[in-house]
Subunit: 355 residues, 5 copies
Amino acid sequence: MSKFIKRKAREAGLAPGTLTDHNPSNEAAEINVIHYDGENLEERKVINADECSVYKGSLGVTWINVDGVKQVDVIEKIGKCFNLHPLLLEDIACGGHRPKIDDYDDHLFIVINMLSYDDTRKDIISEQVSFVLGENYVLSFQEDIEGDLFTPSRNRLKGNKGKIRKAGADYLMYTLADTIIDNYFIILEKMGERIEEMEVRLTTNPTPALLHSIYNLKREIITLRKSVWPLREVLSRMERDETPLIKDGTKIYIRDVYDHTIQVIDAIESYRDVLGGMLDIYLSSVSNKMNQVMKVLTVISTIFIPLTFIAGVYGMNFRKNFPELDWEYGYPFVWGVMIAVAGAMVLYFRKKKWF
Amino acid sequence: MSKFIKRKAREAGLAPGTLTDHNPSNEAAEINVIHYDGENLEERKVINADECSVYKGSLGVTWINVDGVKQVDVIEKIGKCFNLHPLLLEDIACGGHRPKIDDYDDHLFIVINMLSYDDTRKDIISEQVSFVLGENYVLSFQEDIEGDLFTPSRNRLKGNKGKIRKAGADYLMYTLADTIIDNYFIILEKMGERIEEMEVRLTTNPTPALLHSIYNLKREIITLRKSVWPLREVLSRMERDETPLIKDGTKIYIRDVYDHTIQVIDAIESYRDVLGGMLDIYLSSVSNKMNQVMKVLTVISTIFIPLTFIAGVYGMNFRKNFPELDWEYGYPFVWGVMIAVAGAMVLYFRKKKWF
Amino acid sequence: MSKFIKRKAREAGLAPGTLTDHNPSNEAAEINVIHYDGENLEERKVINADECSVYKGSLGVTWINVDGVKQVDVIEKIGKCFNLHPLLLEDIACGGHRPKIDDYDDHLFIVINMLSYDDTRKDIISEQVSFVLGENYVLSFQEDIEGDLFTPSRNRLKGNKGKIRKAGADYLMYTLADTIIDNYFIILEKMGERIEEMEVRLTTNPTPALLHSIYNLKREIITLRKSVWPLREVLSRMERDETPLIKDGTKIYIRDVYDHTIQVIDAIESYRDVLGGMLDIYLSSVSNKMNQVMKVLTVISTIFIPLTFIAGVYGMNFRKNFPELDWEYGYPFVWGVMIAVAGAMVLYFRKKKWF
Amino acid sequence: MSKFIKRKAREAGLAPGTLTDHNPSNEAAEINVIHYDGENLEERKVINADECSVYKGSLGVTWINVDGVKQVDVIEKIGKCFNLHPLLLEDIACGGHRPKIDDYDDHLFIVINMLSYDDTRKDIISEQVSFVLGENYVLSFQEDIEGDLFTPSRNRLKGNKGKIRKAGADYLMYTLADTIIDNYFIILEKMGERIEEMEVRLTTNPTPALLHSIYNLKREIITLRKSVWPLREVLSRMERDETPLIKDGTKIYIRDVYDHTIQVIDAIESYRDVLGGMLDIYLSSVSNKMNQVMKVLTVISTIFIPLTFIAGVYGMNFRKNFPELDWEYGYPFVWGVMIAVAGAMVLYFRKKKWF
Amino acid sequence: MSKFIKRKAREAGLAPGTLTDHNPSNEAAEINVIHYDGENLEERKVINADECSVYKGSLGVTWINVDGVKQVDVIEKIGKCFNLHPLLLEDIACGGHRPKIDDYDDHLFIVINMLSYDDTRKDIISEQVSFVLGENYVLSFQEDIEGDLFTPSRNRLKGNKGKIRKAGADYLMYTLADTIIDNYFIILEKMGERIEEMEVRLTTNPTPALLHSIYNLKREIITLRKSVWPLREVLSRMERDETPLIKDGTKIYIRDVYDHTIQVIDAIESYRDVLGGMLDIYLSSVSNKMNQVMKVLTVISTIFIPLTFIAGVYGMNFRKNFPELDWEYGYPFVWGVMIAVAGAMVLYFRKKKWF
């Protein structure tokens, strides 16, 4: 499978919504459940996904976080508990989606991409995080098992800071989305640092390696852009749409996340402009340097070729009527001529600023 | 007829909707009928297109698949059975349409392009597949006789897997469209592999042949793009439009196909960006290599031209006052001067990083 | 008047709708009238435009075709007969309009551009064809007298083929528009052939003349594009607008013409892409060829310059301590050295793939 | 003040709508009043702007034209007479606005740019013309005193040609706007002529001066474009908006002006395309010419360098075993060799089409 | 933190709307309160932000201006007085926002960027100014303490000039926004001057430093653009939206500011076009100059290389059948040949305009 395509065409002959088990390494999914209301909070690890069903109609808010989506039966069991459509489950399990929001009347399905910078592959890694927002529950699915972006949110819930415990599931949803988008700023800062470093190299030592770096960064910015642009639409719909699942009091917070997304987009566009300018300057300075070198080399040849001609003249073996050869000071005189010619050319070239 | 235009201007003086017989090779159309409901399924090959008329008002769902659209009378007979507009039949028979959807009240006419990669012509082949979706029937017309993309769907129907047998004609229509779009991912993967292979050649051996490969791929991507962009609109209208022919329960599946189309478009845009970057790097590296070569060659000339001049000086035949010629160690001395000059130049050029 | 502007600013001080007589060559307009219903058809040439008035309120459909719009009084008389607005008449007489549709309640005014390829001027010629569609009449005005695109339609009417005689004026209008747009495909095919021919020249013999050809074709495509893009809007409005002049049964035919227009636009965009790619390849291959030549020439110089230096050394006239000159095999030895130097350089350059 | 900015920031601390007197040269405004109805017409020059107030509620149509907007008190007095908003007056006096239309309920404020070509500055001059259209009056303000574009309209009014005297103030407004836009075609024709002249120079003598001309014209086209694009919106709003000030009968004329504006825009876009193509051809032909020159020069050097080497060989002073020097026909033989070498190279280079 | 990102990701685990104290230098905020109605005006400096609460429900208009937003408790206290949402306060304190308008029913929150040119950093500095517009109050927050753009507005209020004292809070809001946008014209004028200066350098002395200047200016224009584009939307919404906070009488003023913003955008787009053209001319003239130099140098070499060859011929040591060496006037004759060859080449090159 090419590295450019994340989604694999569904095996021919399979019905849509059929979850195929892409789990060669047999990774187990980790299910973490937090159930809370203004006063109490309960956290537990769930082994059997069926247990989730108890939370469906309960009072208070339930947040079920699943790390790892490759264990198909877990996804299916949770889907059954919360009455999720098979296509929704396929979207969770398959990955590679751009950010989107689907309205299934009694729950919203929201996909956001989490981005991280992989230092070894020197590239931005995009991981799909899927959310299902119901009336009193939030389900979140993270593609990879390692790393959990949501630890701070969990701590905030436990610490009962701010209004998070008093507010409903929609506010929790907002908190999680906000965490992911805040994370984009870290990526942006790292990119900013690399651009600044490249700018230094651009003025001191523009090498072809720099050119490759610029193009790599450009490609990463395109990846980033592809994750952020549709997110804008997703958030805008969350704010505008008439869904009872997102209360009016929460919409102001979503507008805030929307504003942050706009800031991210602004920064991305700035980076593109800056990189574009750097490319132009790079190409222009490489060509300029080459021109300088060629000019100097050509000037040297141009000065010596006429001198060589003069020397050649007096190396001719004519035996008659070749008076200069017999002059008393023929040799020094020729040196004088040659120095004069060379000097005149140097002066002329200098005046023309040719080297 | 130019290879760029698929549609031929209708012969002057012909009424619209007149089907002209473009069938020099006298290819027969193959008609395959599947009639099914939740319990029974009947499959047969139809020789005389008139026989199709029995299926029009029958219970259950009928799927008539026609391979080969050049046999005009077959198209016309089917058109008469299902009461299709002459312009619709012309669209089926003519080919070369971009994806579109036309609403004829009691049936929808849908055109989708099937793409395949032709290894001999080294190009993407686009084949028009036309669908007519009625209340209890689907007609599908494939331009070419060989190859049938729909075998898996047929098997699924026969195997009675998933909900396909219980659902109506609209769900069958979805299944067929989904099959075609899933097929795009295979094209995308092949393209992705070629891009990766080109990236390797770009760093190891950038030849003009590579340039042509890049442009060829770029052109194929444009072909692909032209098939996929209007498809987005077609699917979006299938999902949104208020037609009784597509039930609400099926719309969620069409939204899923729509999402896949968006993924295809995303991948296409990525490929374009990547190819654009490769072109720039190619041109820059070719120019860079050329510059290196010219610099080295010029440096060699530049070093030897002054030396040749020195040798020329002592080849002059002045007979008087030419003391160096009579020096005891004139010759070794001149060698020393020449080596010093050459060495100084080499050092200077090295310091300047000119070669 | 510049060739780029077709319309001339109206003479200052003239009221709008004043028809000025731009008819230096005194070309007479030819008026051809066809009056028909399902059973009868009458065709005649009209000398005095006033005679047209009898057709205004008559039963059946009247088609008045005027070849040549420069004879102002003819236009004015017809305008009076059918109660046309002075501005409409000015638009007919003036020419140079882009396709447009104006709704004058009891008639529609439609402008379409007819295109033909002028072999002598090597350019696309655009001719404005103006239509007035009333309830039971169609007026068509062609700018030039020679050539008549509508002969096939006339024959179809006379032959009573298809539904043309039974249908109303709107269907006749559709037939005429369809004829013009079908004609675009002929232009497109010719362009396609030229592009293919250019592609061959591009790989075999890329000359500056080819570059000019590419730019010429690019400009023609821009002309074509300017005629076709607004046409899309015109046809779309004919299909969508709520005008009693176009019956619902005819709208399906107009949608068909609309689809053909989209196909033309698609082909135009493809051509632009292909030409863009050809330009890039042209420039790149010219630069590549030049680089090859310069490299070979420079390599030759670079090999002989050091050899010349060696020969120069042994042309020096030092009289003492110049042992090589007295060696028994000095001369062959120097030849050996020179051959070795040249050989080493050739091998090195070959290894580096410099020529 | 930079030449790029026409508007100057308002002096800090001034209330909006404060008219500051930018009238260093103390230019007087000329006020010309024409009052007419179907039967009578009265024209007079007004010295004191207060006199205008008599026309406000009078029967018939009043057209007040003011040449020169720098005399602030004149603008203010007229503003008081017709009850105009201070901001509207500021817009008139300040200049530098893009075309716009503001609806002040009982009058419309319309800004259009008049363009003229200044031969001395070799640039397009844009002058703001402001209109106030009331129920029975039109006020027009021209920035500069010299030159009056409206003389023909004035003559038409006096001559009572066409419907101008019978129609209302809105028709007068239309006439004036039409005059300005007709004037654009004159600018376009001049530009067209310059482009044609440049095309000739492009093929005969492409100099850097031509490059500057192309860029200058490009810049002028951008100026023109900036005046015309917003005008399209202005006219479109005049046609569509529900204002009692523009009667339905007049709207058809405004649509006509709108069509002309579209033609101007079309021509501008064509010019841009043509100039873009000319730039590309210029750069390509300059580079091509340079390549030709360098190739020929390099070929000459490449032919003579090996010959010089041969001559150098027989200039060596080896005293033993140098048989050629003693051959009877050594000298002619060497000439033969040199001619053969040179000939072979010339043939080879010719075959390769290198010069 | 990179210089490209102004906003810092919120510390993980913090609730939204938590104001973190980014105030290392412990800068105090200065609070200036002006309370006025048509007759009286009171101005005072407030030390304790709590005092602001008295103004909330009072008659007349209150303008509270805060210089410096880093002292978190001040912002919070004012927020409590006027019942502002925590997210709004976070937006004020955080900075780095693009212009926006948020409607909180009983007050509007408006962000505008103030721009100034920093001569030391040679860059445009963007400072966020936040406004809260309530029914009878305006709060304005400036990021930096030094410099106050609003002094003129303050003087106007005190001086009771124009309608500012009689009008409400919305008119004050307009005045302040107008002041900021008027300030953009000063930036534009400075840029215009730099562009003109660059144009002079472009024709007299195009150096790589000029290239960097062009790119720097381009980047500044992008910064400016990013501040102004969204402002257009903000003002357009202020004019259109149905909010009781902005009275109809004030909307006409806001439309005026909107027009100015459009003028700024027009100027920015002009600058971009001009800079684009300058870049092209720069690159073209650099390449042209280089070509000239190389051509002249190559011409010199090309003339002398054949001459050197001729001299080399007569430096050969053939002893027999070398007649020229014994000619009486061999030497002058060879000089003649050499001068003839050189002259012919010079004439040929001149005719070809190669130097």
